[in-house]
Symmetry: C2
Subunit: 205 residues, 2 copies
């Protein structure tokens, strides 16, 4: 910690007063900046917590202390409003035969909530205009599609998971971005009801 504070303090320069709270906040922000640079340069798969720590001038243990493993660092750096590991865990918690229903519910809950919905909308818009940011693509592949595929198993699990994600992103696009009718003014509960069997079919049908 002492080493990290010193490094962050040195980056801040002499003009800003030191202080425990300010140091911790500056160190966290420094790590997130270094993480964004590392993910942009090397993608998600190629990035390492060690290199992010080096970029921020801190010990790797401090990165782990503040954020956890690489997926959590990515989530914090990109300000993602969901944690795939936790989300997919919930989706399969009641058994694979309820995964479609659970996924549909989780999807509308995330998109309907003003805070998470606004952030997801911004992420989707940026992803489309970027034409597929490689780090984001790898993160979705490794953390969302792969975990979903693992939950359903089978040789074509990854393609099933991917088609399932396609259906969800398509509803996000038509309901929240393009606001096509009638889906834009259908109730969230009804959208979830209609999606559940389709997602189940993608996963296990």
């Amino acid at each position: 910690m002492a080493e990290a504070r010193t490094a962050a303090g040195a980056r801040r320069g002499p003009g800003r007063p030191p202080g425990r709270r300010g140091d911790a906040s500056a160190t966290r922000e420094g790590i997130l900046e270094a993480a964004r640079a590392e993910f942009a340069a090397r993608g998600y798969a190629g990035a390492s917590v060690r290199a992010i720590a080096r970029g921020a001038g801190v010990d790797p243990a401090l990165v782990h202390h503040y954020f956890g493993p690489k997926d959590r660092v990515f989530i914090a750096a990109m300000d993602l409003p969901l944690e795939p590991e936790e989300l997919i865990g919930r989706v399969f918690a009641a058994g694979v035969e309820h995964a479609g229903e659970r996924l549909a519910e989780a999807f509308v809950t995330l998109w309907e909530h003003p805070d998470t919905g606004t952030r997801l909308l911004a992420i989707l818009r940026t992803a489309v205009s970027d034409g597929g940011n490689p780090a984001f693509r790898e993160f979705v592949g490794a953390e969302l599609i792969a975990r979903l595929a693992e939950g359903i198993g089978g040789e074509d699990g990854a393609l099933r998971a991917n088609l399932c994600v396609s259906q969800l992103l398509g509803v996000a696009l038509t309901r929240y971005v393009l606001r096509l009718e009638p889906i834009a003014s259908t109730s969230a509960a009804h959208v979830a009801d209609r999606l559940a069997p389709i997602l189940q079919r993608h996963l296990t049908g």
Copy 2:
């Protein structure tokens, strides 16, 4: 025609030489410009061929002569690579029970072709960054979703059609824009095979 040529000629100004071919081309371009302005100002539903003709300084019959009814004027003005009326006609040509399969085939054919695929990609990107251009939204609603809903019938036909369009746009997004794996490197034929039963389920399941 004589009146139209005069109007187009007057707009062109004295610096450019007149000529039959140049006149027709300038008149067409003038109509398309007026159409884009009219659709932007009044949306798709509120726009009229009469107002577009007025904006271009030509007779409404000339607009019809060059482009056809309003949907065709919109298609030409927006440079859309598909005609919903013709497309949906083909989708239902072998009966509603084959509509999923036909739609899946039409979808991959349009997106895989270099010319139409590139134009669709540009339209999707623009639609997302525009956050749902009202004229485009109304056109998709009136010409694509409504025709698809008419083909399948039933009280919830429009929502079924909309979910079907969501699935297709979601695959367009994940395969062609975000290039997520494994769907980005799955063969087009296999994508169509996987989509067909899902689309059929959306439409009639």
